[in-house]
């Protein structure tokens, strides 16, 4: 258990809803859910969620902290926004799902091997480095996410696609050597650092 997780368990003992309201992006909306089920029924990935959004909201209110934060469910959200459009109470459901996933990740209790979490990490590390996504490094990183031999296999599979992209000028092979950075990358790093400080202060996370 991470230090932050211990702190939060102590601070919000038995009141997970309050914890979500304070620390999760758009978490203050959770209490507005009237359990109609339109979000769950409207989700294109609905059948693959262990706990659909409607159930997640009820679990938050029921104080099922462990079950919610370690769940793979909210990582299933693909941001299609169908639920937000249809929700009769206008809950920003997509944002709450991302908020919960992000919070679980910050606490260090999100499922370690969840592919969405791993991809999100990869993407984030990639983009903050130069302030711009390096697509070549990102996709190669993605192929090698599950080990070296898997990466080679995947890479060979995708070779024709890569060559096609190369031929049509849609792929820069020098991306591997770096480059593609934006001019003010260091300023972006400063901004991100500042944003992190503000968030930590606002949510009472130890920085």
């Amino acid at each position: 258990m991470s230090e932050l997780n211990k702190v939060m368990v102590e601070k919000y003992r038995n009141d997970f809803l309050k914890e979500v309201e304070a620390n999760v992006e758009e978490g203050n909306w959770v209490k507005m859910c009237m359990q109609c089920g339109v979000c769950s029924g409207s989700c294109p990935f609905g059948p693959y969620w262990e706990h659909p959004p409607q159930e997640i909201f009820m679990m938050v209110r029921a104080g099922k902290r462990e079950e919610v934060l370690t769940s793979e469910s909210m990582w299933m959200c693909t941001s299609c926004y169908n639920c937000i459009v249809r929700c009769p109470r206008e809950l920003p459901i997509t944002h709450i799902m991302h908020g919960l996933a992000n919070y679980a990740h910050r606490l260090g209790i999100a499922p370690k091997m969840n592919p969405t979490r791993r991809f999100a990490k990869l993407f984030w590390q990639n983009i903050i480095k130069g302030g711009r996504v390096n697509e070549l490094k990102l996709s190669i990183g993605l192929y090698f996410m599950d080990g070296f031999s898997n990466g080679v296999k995947k890479g060979l599979e995708m070779l024709p696609v890569g060559l096609g992209l190369l031929k049509t000028g849609r792929l820069n092979p020098f991306g591997l050597l770096g480059g593609g950075k934006c001019k003010g990358a260091s300023d972006i790093h400063k901004m991100l650092k500042k944003a992190q400080e503000i968030e930590n202060r606002r949510k009472g996370f130890a920085s």
Binding site: M34, Q35, C36, G37, Q54, R86, P88
Partner: protein, 428 residues
């Protein structure tokens, strides 16, 4: 009719539905002079379009008959149909109202014999049946219409069809030269009872009311049960005319939804519970009703009715707001998709017919009522001292069932009478 005399001791009632009729009658039976204006060619309003009332399951025609007898017997009450209020000026005890009268093209000689309808060949949508069928362009709005006089639809004026109607009339009742008129009335108080209209179901995109034949509204379902209605009283599917034995009801179709109507329309739960009894009435044990709901709001004594329907083994309750509807192209069956709240089970349920329990919205947005009155966020008229002597009644003020609408109308009538009594000096 344009010579109607009224003074500032007259009460104007706007809207001739159950609330307007009640308010007008209560005041007139107290000896007050009342002018009742109705936009349609007949009194009766939406209640006359219902098959049965809840919770007693009696027929509204009965109450309508009583009210019409009261109207005919009362010398203080005058009824103007095809009339709309354009302007209201003045203040409590002294209003000047401008009323626009559309031509009926039929005068008082009409005996409702129907010869004009036989003569005319043009057919138009029948609004009494929510356009589920057609009717002749010379028509009696419905069997119990008051006044019992035919109407020539303005769409055939100037065509040979209108001349045919005129030629067929043995009583010289058809006057094709009638023009729109305006009149001004002096009145002391106004009861505003313009009622409600069903929310436009086509706006609820995931339910496909505009795309699927077998998705209908609760008001249309009501018309199907009328022996004189578009299906001659048979519950059949619009797509193929097959018996609709397996019927789904979707609650809160447009209500309690910030994308549509913010308010709870109050009557829809009871309406669907009632309509589930229609399915039994037609098909007995073969009937299968499924009610999809967020929560059932059967208040006060109506809870008994709910419990009775709950105990009916042919009625199933699914606690879930349906996410969307698709259609099986081959059978035209509707398939309802969603997740229920009692266990979070995903369902894809097939039904013959789906009835949307559509919400109520005010038929006239109170924010636009001439004279200026207070309105709530949904456009219902709100009681406020600043409204002067304009009193809301029935569904113009809130989503109400018939019982509560009549109570509200009686209360509005009493308030109007108080104003008139002050004007006349009967009360200081």
């Amino acid at each position: 009719m344009s010579g109607a005399v009224a003074t500032n001791e007259t009460i104007l009632v706007v809207g001739g539905g159950i609330s307007g009729m009640t308010a007008a009658l209560e005041a007139a039976e107290c000896g007050k002079d009342v002018v009742l204006v109705e936009k349609n060619p007949s009194l009766g309003g939406r209640v006359s379009q219902l098959y049965k009332y809840f919770p007693k399951l009696c027929h509204p025609t009965c109450g309508m008959e009583i009210n019409l007898r009261r109207i005919k017997a009362n010398k203080h009450l005058r009824v103007l149909t095809l009339a709309e209020v354009d302007k209201v000026e003045g203040r409590a005890g002294d209003y000047t109202v401008t009323i626009r009268l559309r031509p009926r093209y039929v005068n008082e000689n009409c005996t409702a014999c129907g010869a004009c309808a036989d003569a005319v060949s043009t057919e138009i949508d029948n609004p009494f049946n929510y356009k589920l069928n057609k009717m002749k362009a010379a028509y009696l709005p419905f069997n119990m219409a008051y006044p019992q006089r035919y109407v020539i639809d303005s769409s055939i004026i100037g065509t040979p069809d209108a001349e045919k109607a005129k030629a067929a009339c043995k009583y010289d009742a058809i006057d094709l030269g009638m023009k729109e008129q305006t009149m001004t009335l002096k009145v002391g108080a106004i009861v505003w009872a313009t009622g409600w209209r069903p929310y436009d179901a086509a706006k609820i995109q995931p339910y496909g009311y505009d795309r699927y034949d077998n998705v209908i509204t609760s008001v249309e379902f009501e018309r199907m049960m009328d022996p004189f209605g578009p299906t001659a009283g048979k519950l059949v599917r619009p797509s193929d005319g097959k018996e609709a034995k397996n019927v789904a009801f979707i609650q809160c179709a447009g209500s309690r939804d910030r994308n549509h109507l913010k308010h709870c329309s109050r009557i829809c739960c009871m309406a669907s519970l009632k309509q589930s009894t229609y399915v039994n009435e037609q098909f007995g044990d073969q009937a299968q009703s499924t009610i999809y709901y967020i929560d059932i709001r059967a208040i006060d004594r109506l809870e008994d009715f709910y419990q009775k329907v709950r105990a009916n083994p042919t009625v199933k309750f699914v606690k879930s707001k349906v996410a969307n509807i698709t259609e099986d192209r081959e059978s035209s069956d509707v398939i309802l998709h969603g997740v229920d709240t009692e266990g979070y089970h995903r369902y894809d349920n097939r039904h013959d017919l789906c009835v949307l329990a559509v919400g109520m919205e005010p038929s006239v947005d109170a924010r636009g009522i001439p004279g200026g009155v207070h309105a709530d966020a949904s456009g219902f008229l709100e009681a406020d001292a600043a409204n002067g002597a304009i009193f809301g009644a029935g569904c113009a003020t809130n989503a109400l069932d018939v019982n509560r609408a009549v109570q509200s109308a009686t209360a509005a009538s009493l308030r109007a009478i108080q104003v008139i009594n002050k004007v006349s000096g009967a009360e200081v």
